[in-house]
């Protein structure tokens, strides 16, 4: 596969090296001449000095026959412009952009970027997992932007202990209406999939009362995750 990487920061550099090891054809386009000069010693002619948002420089990098363009510059907006040029001017099959601002995910997907990698979120999720005490974990980012699979551990002192999922507003019996809590925070897009109690997985139901040390796995969205977390672990 022929891959063009735009931006040779730490991400671009290591990505280029691993793709080269995996026998792919790689060109790295980097704007800064000083950076390029250092990289030429290490990576050789794979690195080209040029601006990834300049049509002529992209052409010089061989974009007309590229299978994939990966934009990893430090600026979200620049990565968008690179991907849009690759897609609309050169019909590149697959465009990939890294972003730092989570909220850009949706707009990048709408505007036709094939894969959006949220570098900020990934680091955050790994950090979360390394903190053993954390009772809220992102387990997976789902295909729909802003949708996650999470696990929530119910602590001893949570108000949710002894309350049913219906009382917590997490499940309603009329499945077609959005469940609404008394404080007006809806959890319409959150769905509990399984509750693990003392090592036994159970299917959640509206009448199921939560116990301390339960672990609840749910699909939720970026807007609702903090409400879900507060409901399940908070004291209110």
């Amino acid at each position: 596969m022929f891959v063009i990487i735009v931006g040779c920061n730490a991400t671009g550099y290591h990505l280029a090296k691993s793709l080269l090891v995996a026998q792919h054809e790689v060109i790295v386009l980097e704007k800064s001449l000083a950076r390029c000069q250092r990289l030429w010693d290490e990576l050789g002619s794979v690195v080209i000095q040029g601006d990834g948002t300049d049509l002529a420089d992209l052409r010089r990098a061989g974009i007309t026959r590229a299978d994939t363009v990966i934009a990893v510059t430090d600026k979200d907006e620049t990565n968008l412009v690179i991907c849009q040029m690759a897609k609309h001017a050169f019909s590149v099959g697959r465009t990939v952009a890294t972003i730092k601002d989570t909220k850009n995910h949706t707009v990048f997907r709408i505007l036709g970027v094939d894969s959006v990698v949220n570098s900020g979120d990934l680091v955050l999720h790994v950090l979360e997992r390394t903190i053993v005490e954390s009772s809220f974990n992102h387990l997976a980012t789902l295909r729909d932007p802003g949708t996650f699979l999470v696990s929530v551990y119910i602590p001893d002192d949570a108000t949710a202990v002894g309350k049913t999922l219906k009382e917590l507003g997490i499940i309603t019996q009329e499945s077609d209406s959005a469940p609404e809590n008394k404080d007006g925070n809806t959890l319409a897009k959150s769905f509990p999939c399984v509750v693990v109690r003392c090592g036994n997985p159970m299917v959640p139901s509206a009448e199921m009362a939560l116990k301390a040390h339960d672990e609840l796995f749910a699909v939720t969205t970026s807007e609702e995750e903090s409400t879900l977390y507060d409901k399940l672990t908070g004291i209110w």
Binding site: E77, L80, D101, K103, V107, L111
Partner: protein, 133 residues
Amino acid sequence: MQVLIFGCTRQADALVPVLVHDGHHVTVMDTDSDRLAIMKRQTDIEPVWIADPLMQDFLIEGKIETAEAFYSLSDDDHKNLLLCQIASEIYNVPRTMCLLSDPQLQAFYEPLGMRVINAGRDFLNSAQELIAR
């Protein structure tokens, strides 16, 4: 009309008093609080001071959800392009305009349906004309 402007640039300096004079409600966003304060002292605007990286949260603070027009006038072409596309695609702002200084970017984005204002292309044409005569 409710108008949202990103960027306290010279272009905004010229545009904002005209819009306010015509009776429009103008909100101006910028990352530089000094420039906003100066503009606020001269014209009746609603300033929103923004700080990266939470761009989209500040758009909501600037009431983009109800804005009827959005001008992206900062001196960062790429930022203008991103914000204009967020305004039209996510918040369905009916009128958006994007300031670009790179003629090549204008040539690329105009056919995609974006309204671009650009000193760059006029500059290129005029500059060539000057010595062509």
